[in-house]
Amino acid sequence: MSSVIDWENTPNPVKENRGGVIGKPVDRYEGPLKVTGTAPYAYEVTPPSPPAYGVMVSAPIAKGRITAVDTAAAEAAPGVLLVWTHRNAPAQGPRPARYDFFTPSPRPALESDQVHYFGQQVAVVVADTLENAQAAAALVRLSYAEDPKAVVLAQHHAEAVQPPGESDVEIGDFEAAFAAAPVTVDDVWKTPLQNHCQMEPCATTAWWEGEQLTVHTSVQMVRFAQNSLAETLMMPHKQVRLLTRYVGGGFGGKGSFYEDLVLASLAARELGRPVKIAFSRQQMMHGTVHRPATEIRVRLGATPDGRLTALSLMTTTHCDRRGNFTEHASNFARSLYAAPNRLTGHRLVRLDLPVASAMRAPGEASGTLSLEVAMDELAEKLGMDPVELRILNEPQSDPETGKPFSIRQLVRCFREGAQMFGWDRRNPIPGRERDGRWLVGMGTAAAIRGNFLLPAKASFTVDAQGVVTVRQGMTDIGTGTYTVLAQIAAETLGVPLADVRVEIGDSELPPAPGSGGQFGAATAGSAALDAGMNLRTAIAELAANDPASPLYGGPAGAVVFQDGVVAIGNRSERLADLIGRNRPDGLTADGEVRPAADASQWSSHTYGAHYVEVGVDPVTGEVRTRRMLGVFAAGRILNWKTARSQLTGGMIWGVGSALTEGNAPDPRYGSLINQDLASYLVPVQADIGELDAIMLDEVDDKANPMGIKGVGELGISGAGAAVANAIYNACGVRVRDYPITPDKLLAGIIAAGG
């Protein structure tokens, strides 16, 4: 078992970076395929023979059961090969009573007559063409008996319970300290249900060769999906090969998998030919998962000079009746600001909505929209600059656990960001700055997101041409995994990037947990580094023991890897020559990483500071972001180009969460009002003004052997709050019910006499 002490004290090629590949802003490894449209996503893979096309039918009720099935018209429609409902779907493994993200378990499709949420898949039609399948799917006639349903969080607070296995965390005496505090903030912020809206709808192409199933699908977690699919199909894991080489966006929504995977697999078996099934965009909105709504009560108490004495976040949120997901919107507050008296916790309401699950920065994304605005309100009450208030309350160790921080540069993020952004030009009095028809304001907020490391494996192979291939059952969902694995390999083995191949997204490769929780690069990369180190050792020993090598006699420990050459002092040869002579079929080494036994002794997070300038049209309530700057500290950066893109992408998600994104349940039907991309509004190009992300130099040598951390979720954390604060600074109106759309802002402007 490794330890943080080992990580800190053991040098490795990534830390030393002699070749300079680590951190370099190299172009994406798979980029040439993506910019030419030749990277095959799951629905685009060419199967061994022409596929049949499946189309799913979704339930038009939120709760109840199917009482009658009439598939005669669908079955008689042109080209139809198969129509399945719960009446005739093949037997599958039983669904567990409760399930979570990481434990593989059966996920049977069309399993019963029960409908648990609007948009649940209740039938599938497979036909010879997509057009025929779509037309026939509309001919499936199902009758339903509806049960009463509950879908609106605000109407069911009375049913809120403590999430299973959790309890509130109280330090000191919060209530007493809050009651005694001379300056307080006490408000409730509401965030709506949100949809991931990955550009690629979930899709699967499946085929069988004898007892062996091959599926190309679009998921974030390879091994989880492969094992779960095998258990659903009640077959040995090894007979399922699952590939997911290109994923058109995940953001947590493809952390699990859906009926396309199961039904394509089953139908391909039944028909003896490849089958492909994709979700429609409309089906994605209900039929996958969503970020649940939250109501977050924030209470802050402070002394007149701005020191927090009491801090509380209490979140009420929801999940589906069978699920076990809590949007932990209060958790980040446990580590952000010093305050001697603290209370945080969550309440969960089970509703008859689709499945709630993780969406980019679960917890932080919603939670910062409350606390980081509350801090702005407190700063105003105190007559303090919001940046200075935060810096004043900077803790010296984790304010809840007292653990030391692995490294924390939040203050530096704020200081450097303020200078770069021109924060000193902010007028602290709202509504005073105008540019044409726009009132202009600035806002700031902190970013924080936890750091994680999970177990993973990897293998490295060097061949007789000196080409190094990384193999790992990892995914790249746009995060840059291909590229950073190539960089780790190039640096570790001292070969040019052009001589590195990366094979991921395949269940036959050494398993890694996948992409999610901002743990991907650290987890997959650390395993890859270990495999690379082991391959270095194997190569060095090969050279030292090969009489034909100039390196013969070693010492193996002194071998240097650089520019495709292995050398000891002035003795050297090409890596390709050494391998070609000794291992013409290539030399492979495996590696792995496990979380350090002593990792929990440190409080480890990524941090950042957001600065935003917006314009508000006081006539219409429209908001435009004009300038955004994020300054982040997230450990060693493997690739400054792809990391920056992750951060800027997250910041833009913050804009969406502040201004446009949200979905509302209609209690009469149990459905969500926005069912496509014309009604669920994610930001478009015109919504985003000047925007940049800066990354501070940092090494977190307690995070993992490379000293890196994740950046995929940090950018969204706090970004929306900074937008909200800038809106207030522009026009003097707080809207605590997100998103801040023109109707809500206009109501505030009018109420304020504007």
Partner: protein, 168 residues
């Protein structure tokens, strides 16, 4: 129905169900899967191709409506070993992440630059009778028919600007 469409310079004779969209004809019949299906309803732009040089959503058009038309898809713009300047710019500027909207973004950018060359206005064009200047705001507005959920928007602006040279 018999339909002939010139795709990336090559006449392709097809026999299609009238219901087949141009997008599905490209992706399924011709196996040109560069144009993507993101929403199938004209709400995302991932399916953008050029028809007779003009950018459209190929999901909201029937293939049979394009008999005799000249269609350019991303595959006709360049290949991995010979990237067109706009493709190289997207790669260099990291103007994509998951890559799913990227072919549509690139085809849209080409169509957009042609529209600017034709002096077509947008809602950012203050002076409708003058010459369009491709400011960043103009560029952003004109590329707003292509959603990128990874939100590579600033990088897309940089890439198009770099490939477009000094059009502004």
């Amino acid at each position: 129905m018999k339909t002939t469409i010139t795709v990336n310079g090559e006449p392709r004779a097809l026999d299609l169900d009238p219901r087949t969209t141009l997008l599905d004809a490209l992706r399924e019949a011709l196996r040109l899967t560069g144009a993507k299906k993101g929403c199938d309803h004209g709400q995302c732009g991932a399916c953008t191709v050029l028809v007779n040089g003009v950018r459209i959503n190929s999901c909201l058009s029937l293939a049979v409506m394009h008999d005799g038309d000249d269609v350019t898809t991303i595959e006709g713009v360049g290949a991995p070993d010979r990237l067109a300047p706009i493709q190289q710019a997207f790669l260099t500027e990291d103007a994509f992440q998951c890559g799913y909207c990227t072919p549509g973004q690139i085809c849209s950018a080409l169509g957009m630059l042609a529209e600017v060359a034709e002096n077509w206005p947008s809602q950012e064009t203050a002076d409708l009778t003058g010459r369009v200047r491709l400011t960043d705001d103009e560029l952003r507005e004109r590329m707003s028919g292509n959603i990128c959920r990874c939100s590579a928007y600033p990088q897309i602006v940089a890439a198009i600007r770099s490939a477009a040279g000094d059009l502004a």
